[in-house]
C-alpha cells in the first residue's frame, strides 16, 4: 500500500513539476501578453495542484493535507484574479502602462 502511494505520489509530483517547467518556458517564449497569461494560469492551477496532491500522497498526514489544500486554493485564486485583472487592463487600455 505504501509503495503504491509512493509511486503515485512521485508520478503526480513529476507531472506537476513538468507542468511548471513548460509554463515557465511558455511565459519566456510565447509571443504576446494574452498567450503568456494563458501559460501562467495553467501553472498556477494545474501544476501546483498536481505537486500538492503528490506531496499529500507521499506525506499522508491529515494536518499537512489541510495546509497543502489551502496553498492550492490560495495560489489558484490569486492566479485567476490577477490573470483576470491583467487581461482586463490589457484589453481595455491596450496595456497596463
Amino acid at each position: 500500500m505504501t509503495t503504491v502511494l509512493q509511486v503515485v505520489g512521485l508520478t503526480l509530483t513529476t507531472f506537476g513539476v513538468s507542468f511548471l517547467l513548460i509554463a515557465a518556458l511558455g511565459v519566456w517564449r510565447l509571443p504576446d501578453v494574452l498567450s503568456r497569461l494563458h501559460a501562467l494560469t495553467k501553472a498556477d492551477s494545474a501544476g501546483l495542484a498536481l505537486i500538492a496532491l503528490g506531496a499529500a500522497c507521499l506525506k499522508g498526514r491529515p494536518d499537512s493535507l489541510l495546509v497543502l489544500g489551502l496553498c492550492v486554493v490560495l495560489v489558484a485564486l490569486s492566479g485567476v484574479t490577477i490573470g483576470h485583472l491583467i487581461a482586463r487592463a490589457h484589453l481595455s487600455e491596450g496595456d497596463l502602462e
Partner: protein, 301 residues
C-alpha cells in the same frame, strides 16, 4: 543534488538582484526585487532559519514591494546623467574588493559559537520551546521593546511628512470573492503563526505582517475607506502595542525586581499576551506606514 540546488539558488539570488538594480524600468526593478526577496527567503530556509524566512517573505518581499510600488509613480525618475566611465570602473573595483574581503572575513572567522549552549541551557525556564521566540521575548525582550519604539518613531515621521494616500481603484467584480477568501485566510494564518510561535517557527512579527497583508487587500480592493477616524483608530492600536509592552516591562520590574524578568512559571502567559497585542499593533503600524496619514491644516495640530 542538494549542492546543485544551493548553487543555482545562490546564483538566482544574485542574478535577480542585479536585474532589479540594473534597470531603469520601475516595474521591472520592483518585480525583480520582490522575486529576490522570495529567493532569499528560500535560501534562508536552506540555511536553517525558517523564522527569519517567514518574516523575509512576508515583510521583505510582500510589504516592501507594495511600499515601493506606491512610491514608484510619485517619485520622478532622476535625470539620466550617467557618471563617467572611469568613476564607475573605480567604484566597481572597490565593490569587488569589498565583496571579496567580506566573504573571506566571514568564511575564515573563528567558528566558536558562544550562544547556542547558553540558549539551550536556559530554554526550559523561558516558557517557550522555540529558541528564536525565547531570545526575542524573554532573554532579549528589552531589544524588542526598543524595536517597537523605533517602528513608532518611523510612524511619527511618516505622519509629519504626510505622503498622499494611495487612491483606491475599481478593480472589477472578481475582487469581492478574492477578498472574501484571502482576508479571512490572512487572519486565520496570523492567529496560527502567533499560537505556534511558542514551539515552532512563527511569532508576532510574522503574524503581524500577514495581518497587514490582509488589511492591504481590503484597502487596495477599495473595501476599506480611509477616513480620518479610521486612521486615528489605527494610530491608537499602533500605540497600544508599545504601551502594553512598556506596562508589562514596568510591572515585571515591580513583581520580580528586574526589568522584563517574568515571574516564575508564568512566562508563557506573559509572552503570549505581549505577542498577541504586538501582532495587532505591528499590523496597524505596517498599514499606516503604507497608507500614510492625513495632512491636517497647521492651526488644527
Amino acid at each position: 543534488m542538494s549542492l546543485a540546488f544551493d548553487i543555482l539558488l545562490a546564483f538566482g539570488v544574485v542574478f535577480t538582484a542585479a536585474a532589479a538594480l540594473g534597470t531603469h524600468d520601475r516595474v521591472a526593478s520592483i518585480a525583480g526585487f520582490v522575486v529576490t526577496g522570495l529567493l532569499v527567503a528560500l535560501s534562508l530556509v536552506r540555511l536553517g532559519a525558517p523564522d527569519v524566512a517567514l518574516a523575509e517573505a512576508a515583510i521583505g518581499a510582500g510589504l516592501t514591494g507594495a511600499l515601493l510600488l506606491r512610491s514608484a509613480w510619485r517619485l520622478k525618475p532622476a535625470e539620466s546623467r550617467v557618471s563617467p566611465a572611469i568613476d564607475r570602473i573605480i567604484v566597481a573595483l572597490i565593490a569587488v574588493c569589498l565583496s571579496g574581503a567580506l566573504a573571506w572575513a566571514v568564511y575564515t572567522a573563528p567558528g566558536a559559537a558562544l550562544y547556542p549552549a547558553l540558549v539551550s541551557e536556559r530554554l526550559a525556564e523561558s516558557g517557550v520551546t522555540n529558541p528564536v521566540t525565547a531570545v526575542l521575548l524573554n532573554f532579549r525582550a528589552w531589544d524588542t521593546l526598543l524595536e517597537i519604539a523605533v517602528l513608532f518613531v518611523a510612524l511619527i515621521l511618516v505622519r509629519i511628512v504626510a505622503p498622499a494616500h494611495p487612491q483606491p481603484v475599481v478593480l472589477g467584480e472578481l475582487m469581492l470573492p478574492f477578498a472574501r477568501i484571502v482576508v479571512p485566510m490572512c487572519a486565520f494564518l496570523a492567529g496560527h503563526l502567533l499560537w505556534q510561535g511558542a514551539s515552532v517557527p512563527g511569532g508576532a512579527f510574522q503574524a503581524g505582517a500577514i495581518l497587514a497583508g490582509g488589511l492591504l487587500v481590503l484597502m487596495l480592493g477599495g473595501f476599506a475607506v480611509l477616513t480620518p477616524r479610521l486612521l486615528s483608530w489605527g494610530m491608537m492600536v499602533a500605540l497600544l502595542g508599545l504601551a502594553v509592552f512598556a506596562v508589562a516591562a514596568l510591572s515585571t520590574e515591580a513583581l520580580t525586581g528586574t526589568l522584563l524578568l517574568y515571574p516564575d512559571g508564568a512566562a508563557k502567559i506573559w509572552i503570549l499576551m505581549i505577542e498577541a497585542v504586538l501582532t495587532l499593533s505591528i499590523a496597524a503600524m505596517l498599514c499606516l506606514l503604507f497608507c500614510g496619514m492625513p495632512r491636517r491644516p497647521l492651526n488644527d495640530v
